[in-house]
């Protein structure tokens, strides 16, 4: 295990509550990736934009999982920040312009279809990063 070159020692992200957070992130990353992969492989032409967006979101969840697990703080910060912006922007757009989103993405309606997990996870990730900074 390579320690990051930090100037001040800090608590690792993935211990204690961070351990649980990474586990939930991991489950969500796998679920979102599998679903997006399946959508792209079997019915891409139905809603290419929505499915590509889901695939992008899924990839970022995987990146966030690995970054949080390995204490890669900058990467984790960027990934969680991207997810939060994504769910807020796409969530708002999907409510204002429902016709632009013919099929559900993970971020539609602020992640309603996924129990709002997409909205909660990046917030918890950012809080955990701040708590261990």
């Amino acid at each position: 295990m390579v320690e990051p070159a930090a100037t001040t020692p800090h608590e690792r992200v993935a211990v204690g509550p961070g351990r649980l957070l990474v586990a939930v992130y991991g489950v969500f990353g796998v679920a979102a990736s599998a679903r997006a992969g399946l959508q792209l492989a079997t019915r891409f032409e139905q809603a290419p934009a929505a499915y590509l967006l889901s695939a992008l979101a899924a990839a970022v969840y995987v990146v966030a999982t690995v970054a949080l697990a390995r204490d890669l703080r900058r990467t984790a910060l960027a990934a969680c920040g991207f997810e939060l912006v994504g769910v807020l922007v796409v969530g708002t757009l999907s409510l204002l312009l429902p016709d632009a989103f013919p099929d559900q993405t993970v971020w539609s309606s602020y992640g309603l279809g996924y129990g709002f997990v997409p909205l909660v996870l990046p917030v918890l990730g950012l809080l955990r990063l701040r708590a261990t900074a």
Partner: protein
Amino acid sequence: MITPLAVAVLVLSLVLAAAGLVLALLDRRPGKPLLQGVLLLQLLLIGQAVVAASLLLGGDRPDDQGAFLGYLVVSALLLPAGLIWSFEEKSRYGTLVLAVVCAVVAVLQVRLQSLWDTVG
């Protein structure tokens, strides 16, 4: 799929998730009974994956077969991953990790069963 096996997976996963949650609230590490329960659940999941795979090979076709296979594979790999991830955590959060993966197994089981109900 075999209904008794599916019911057993669902009930055991929910019981283990609840037990894990209670243990975590009591600030306990997962003890031997919980770990044995997780092992038993894993054996049931492997059995179910084998049965479902052989039924698929035998010609049964649920709607959205890709999703069905996805749920099946993830349900068979989730507990080992959760065990490995929780192993190093010496606090209540290691117990909570196990509770969460068991709860996810229950959700996967419900999804699997609803897809399988479309066969025939």
